[in-house]
Symmetry: C2
């Protein structure tokens, strides 16, 4: 995939840094009216009339956050953008621009980097955001992708992790655990492939899980949907490290406790089946797997009627007084303390949970 012997492949050593940047950026189109100047100067110039500016950044490292053995480069580029946009949407804001830094080694061809950039541009089109800058450099070993996302919101619209109060409802969009289970399937098939490269696995029963892992989407739709329903979250965060960890972040920053009900956690039927096959508990995948990029937020209890019938939103618990702690209430009524067992690159060792981006 990387060092393909295709006649049309161009080694990066034949190009200079400026030529590579030119090849990657010449197809960029600007869409957002807040972009005054994109790629091509010392800095991008943006203008947000009467709004707050939001900025978030992430660094993705090969062998830690992704494994190129089973990650197509277009998907990787797309995902690198999506995980950053998710942070902007989690502030109840709209994303408008990204800057992309790449570190590439000579084992990559121009065509490989163009495939990565095609994924980045595809995400730009899908989410209607502009690629306005970045940096391209060499890397001694693996592929590095740094993405900075910029967005905007009116001051009174911005929602923080802090702000929820006891009795608020705990709500999540979509379903959870599928991305982690997709990763387990990919790693299992990768092991099989190493033993027998001629295997052609039938991955169709896992299509949804693989898409959640390889080409996740960020919940751009949630902030405007909530506005249309007439509700404003009291606190919000995106689910990158798993539901447990994110609930604990909200509790920590808002100085509260929480009750999460096991039987309310939304799971896709494919996730339940795959978990059974892999001998895993799908609830554990939802709590600790991460990478779902759904939004977790809290609402005033009186807003319940406004969202209760919404097919994309699930009420999964409520906020409690701080001294009540943060617990999962199991189906049999037991109370289990929530723990941040989310992904931890520094503790868990490299590559152990490759595929995870924060």
């Amino acid at each position: 995939m990387l060092a393909d012997k295709d006649q049309n492949s161009t080694p990066l050593t034949e190009l200079g840094e400026f030529d590579l940047i030119k090849a990657l950026t010449e197809r960029i189109q600007l869409r957002d009216p807040s972009t005054r100047k994109g790629v091509g100067d010392d800095a991008a110039v943006l203008h947000f009339e009467d709004a707050d500016t939001l900025v978030s950044t992430d660094l993705l490292v090969e062998g830690v956050h992704f494994n190129l053995a089973y990650t197509p480069l277009e998907h990787l580029g797309y995902k690198a953008v999506v995980v950053n946009l998710s942070d902007i949407y989690a502030m109840n804001a709209q994303a408008s621009q990204i800057l992309v830094s790449l570190g590439v080694s000579n084992r990559f061809t121009l065509e490989a980097i163009e495939a990565l950039y095609a994924g980045i541009r595809m995400a730009g089109r899908h989410y209607n955001i502009d690629v306005v800058g970045g940096d391209t450099t060499s890397s001694a070993s693996g592929l590095l992708i740094g993405v900075t996302a910029v967005g905007y919101a009116k001051r009174e619209e911005v929602v923080y992790r802090k702000g929820t109060k006891p009795m608020d409802l705990l709500v999540v969009s979509g379903d959870l655990g599928a991305a982690y289970l997709g990763l387990q399937i990919l790693e299992r098939e990768n092991e099989v492939f190493k033993v027998n490269p001629h295997t052609q696995p039938d991955l169709s029963p896992y299509a949804y899980l693989l898409e959640r892992q390889l080409k996740p989407e960020a919940r751009q739709d949630i902030p405007p949907r909530l506005a249309k329903l007439g509700v404003k979250p009291t606190a919000m965060i995106d689910i990158s490290d798993g539901l447990s960890s994110e609930i604990l972040h909200l509790c920590d920053q808002s100085d509260v406790g929480a009750r999460l009900y096991e039987d309310k956690i939304p799971l896709d039927p494919q996730a339940i089946r795959a978990a059974e096959e892999l001998n895993l508990n799908p609830i554990t995948a939802a709590l600790n797997g991460g990478e779902d990029y759904e939004l977790l937020f809290t609402l005033k209890a009186q807003d319940y009627d406004k969202i209760k019938d919404h097919p994309n939103l699930s009420v999964i618990g409520h906020i409690a007084e701080k001294d009540k702690g943060a617990y999962l209430i199991s189906r049999d009524g037991g109370a289990i303390p929530l723990q941040a067992q989310g992904w931890d690159a520094l503790k868990s060792g490299q590559g152990k949970k490759a595929g995870k981006a924060e």
Copy 2:
């Protein structure tokens, strides 16, 4: 330095990602009134009243942009910030915030990363900017530093690479070539050290050159100084890749040519002496060395009187019609085409010119 056997050293494996982020960010102070929310949420929240937002990002990779054999970690942290701020000042703007992503391997101790962060905080204090976000992750091999700088300027104040016209004056701040010569001295001493680790070199004759290489400063002072002198540049860029390359960028984006006069290029006496000792041409160091982080800009000819006596500014040439090309006029009157021989990580091979950041 990295894996020191000090009793007080803390392996990163003892800390989780959240603990490391907490240890690094708890001493951060916010200074800029445009920062509404810094570290600790999904995104930083900023507000620039009535101004444009400027954003620039860079990725620094160990073995490509820096060599830890002779780069103290505090200096590295400081420099990583400075090279990004320089991009904001090059837009005639003020920098206000940075976001810092780190990729660290287990060979680093907490104390090593804290030293790096101490340099980052020191730059924050010196330039009066806030550290408002970032990402910390593990890296399979070397140290990675991604910095995103944010700044602001009124729309009419922003200066682009495009905008200069024939007959405009070509002006540079400070002096050139010293950072590159400092790097040559460091690499020479590093080779000596490898042969005989007990050598204690006397580096005092090179103090200015080493400071320019290891702890450069960005020209935050130039935009307000020019405003005070009543002049606005017609185009501007910072000198990261060498004077030749930056003049060609201005020519390319403004669709013009240029004349640069060899005898006008500002050189420090220490740079001239070191170049002689190293058997290098100091003009070549100025043209192609890079990393000076001075500002190169153009002014209307009628502004000459306003800046001619300024000790920090040198008029080094002028802009010409595009069909006249871009040439260095040597002391003997010869015309040599300017060439972008700036640093190129992809072509030159890794580490060949380690120390360079764009």
